[in-house]
């Protein structure tokens, strides 16, 4: 299957995205912010449809819109009681706008499906380069904030007292999430971003009790699920996104059984 250019590109693209999604997703799960990640992906849908409407590449719209949304979420702060409502409102507002953009650009149905459910086999060299650069930048940023991010996720009030700027860390993190979500949307689509960002991370946290091991395992599981999904799709001719969600679900439920046994 590696004889085909598009398969090699698909393996490389999904490999880059899976590692980024697994690592970023781990912190999303640790911080209980998975809903924010979900909302960002829907905002990305609006960004992508809007970009196409104005003749720009969808990835530019995805990244631009989600990063701005991540910045806004971080700036609004972390008032827990209001967070879900505010995010939910933003989510539906964004989807509504996306619908409007689709309405104005009716010949867009095929690309809309690709956005919603992913199209890893359509990744060209240019997109691959963009994915690689964005992933490298995001991982560098994540590495830079890793220590205060972990501290602030586990003990927010103590971290604040020890001098961690909670809002800064949270805002930078949400912008990294925005990029990871945009990349993920290229592979599995905006509707299935959870499958690479949340599934592997949640499974990793159930498989091991150690922080560093869980972080590494989240990336490894995401990679295995993405490549496994591609391989199964190649031989079965079923959609890649389906296989990735199936593997992600399987691993997650297996992790729950394993956690219960070792408890």
């Amino acid at each position: 299957m590696f004889d085909y250019d598009f398969m090699r590109a698909a393996f490389m693209a999904s490999g880059i995205v899976a590692v980024l999604a697994g690592l970023v997703g781990f912190f999303l799960v640790l911080r209980g912010q998975t809903f924010a990640g979900h909302a960002l992906s829907h905002v990305g849908f609006t960004g992508a449809t809007g970009a196409v409407l104005f003749g720009l590449p969808p990835l530019a719209g995805l990244v631009g819109f989600t990063v701005i949304a991540g910045l806004a979420m971080g700036a609004l702060g972390e008032r827990l009681s209001q967070r879900d409502v505010a995010i939910g409102m933003m989510l539906s507002l964004a989807l509504g706008l996306g619908l409007l953009f689709l309405h104005f650009y009716t010949s867009y149905a095929a690309q809309a499906a690709a956005l919603l459910f992913g199209n890893v086999l359509g990744v060209d060299d240019e997109a691959l380069a963009a994915l690689a650069i964005l992933a490298a930048l995001s991982l560098a940023a994540l590495g830079f904030i890793a220590r205060p991010l972990i501290f602030a996720s586990l003990q927010p009030e103590l971290a604040e007292a020890r001098g961690v700027d909670l809002r800064l860390v949270s805002t930078v993190f949400l912008m990294i999430v925005a990029i990871a979500v945009s990349e993920c949307a290229q592979i599995v689509g905006v509707l299935l971003v959870f499958t690479l960002m949340v599934g592997p991370a949640a499974a990793a946290l159930a498989f091991t009790r150690r922080l560093h091991a869980a972080i590494a395992l989240a990336a490894l599981l995401a990679l295995a699920e993405a490549w496994g999904g591609l391989t199964l799709a190649y031989y079965s001719d079923w959609p890649t996104s389906f296989w990735i969600t199936a593997l992600s679900g399987l691993v997650y439920f297996a992790s729950l059984v394993s956690a219960r046994r070792s408890a």
Binding site: A146, F151, Q155, E157, L158, E160, A161, R162, R209
Partner: protein, 283 residues
């Protein structure tokens, strides 16, 4: 040099005066119980000492320097214990996250930092607990881990916000005894807030009582007395001493017991046998 000095401090939050003209000094190595009704400002007083709350007037000095965020020699145990009760990670990793937690970069620990963590765990006898999952240990065991995390950096002042909440009497005594031992062995000044004076009576040197925007620091017998408390509460307060225990009464209502109930809701009552459950209900 005092461990903590309030100099004519006033604090206003959202238009409400929490403290006015608070003036007191906690000496080095002193164990002070912080008491007062709900909303009297116990948490605010600690957060102000950490430089997290702006002052309307006056100044706070911590170990001889103005109070600022991130003071290396101040340990803190917040009342809100974060999400850790629901996590499957080990206690060790939770404690370790606080080592240089405010520095940028990847969280790597060198040998000296690992020794520091082991020391902090040993100080509260929590080395074994630290190997287990945070969601599998009891509320009292999590409390000990948080206490050991507060010891990272070898503080000279410890601010402990309601460490006894949702613990049964046996665990309460254990926490108070542990803090007393730490205070004496390591010469740490401790501010220990609580709903009730009685669990602290055997351990504390002095008591800091907050009420009606005022703060009074003094010996237990001076402060927990009818005239002082009547002034702080702005109501007639009677203090009864029965068999080495103290009961603060306003009319026929027992003040501290009542405020304790209020915090948890009546369903939980006064004693918590199931502390893990009570912890979750607070989260």
């Amino acid at each position: 040099m005092s461990a903590l000095r309030f100099d004519q401090v006033a604090i206003k939050l959202g238009g409400r005066t929490i403290l006015s003209a608070a003036d007191f000094a906690v000496e080095d190595g002193e164990f002070v119980g912080v008491l007062g009704a709900n909303g009297a400002g116990k948490t605010t007083l600690m957060r102000a000492s950490l430089g997290l709350v702006p002052l309307a007037a006056g100044a706070i000095a911590v170990l001889g320097a103005p109070a600022t965020r991130g003071h290396a020699r101040v340990g803190y145990m917040p009342q809100n214990r974060g999400p850790i009760a629901g996590l499957r990670l080990t206690g060790y990793d939770m404690v370790a996250s606080g080592v240089k937690g405010a520095h940028w970069g990847l969280p790597r620990l060198d040998a000296a930092e690992r020794r520091e963590i082991d020391w902090a765990l040993d100080m509260v006898d929590a080395r074994k607990i630290a190997g287990r999952s945070l969601n599998e240990i009891s509320g009292g065991e999590r409390q000990r881990l948080l206490l050991s995390q507060a010891l990272i950096g070898r503080p000279k002042l410890l601010l402990l916000d309601e460490p006894l909440i949702s613990l049964d009497p046996a665990h309460q005594k254990n926490v108070v005894d542990t803090v007393k031992r730490l205070s004496e062995e390591l010469k740490i000044a401790v501010l220990f807030s609580a709903h009730e004076i009685n669990p602290l009576l055997s351990a504390i040197d002095r008591v800091l009582y907050l009420g009606a925007g005022k703060a009074v620091l003094g010996a237990v017998d001076e402060v927990i007395a009818g005239p002082t408390l009547s002034r702080l509460y702005g109501a007639e307060i009677e203090v009864l001493r029965v068999g080495g225990r103290i009961f603060v009464m306003s009319g026929d209502v027992e003040m501290e017991r009542d405020s304790h109930r209020h915090e948890h809701g009546d369903a939980h009552g006064h004693d918590h046998q199931d502390h893990a459950h009570a912890d979750e209900s607070r989260a």
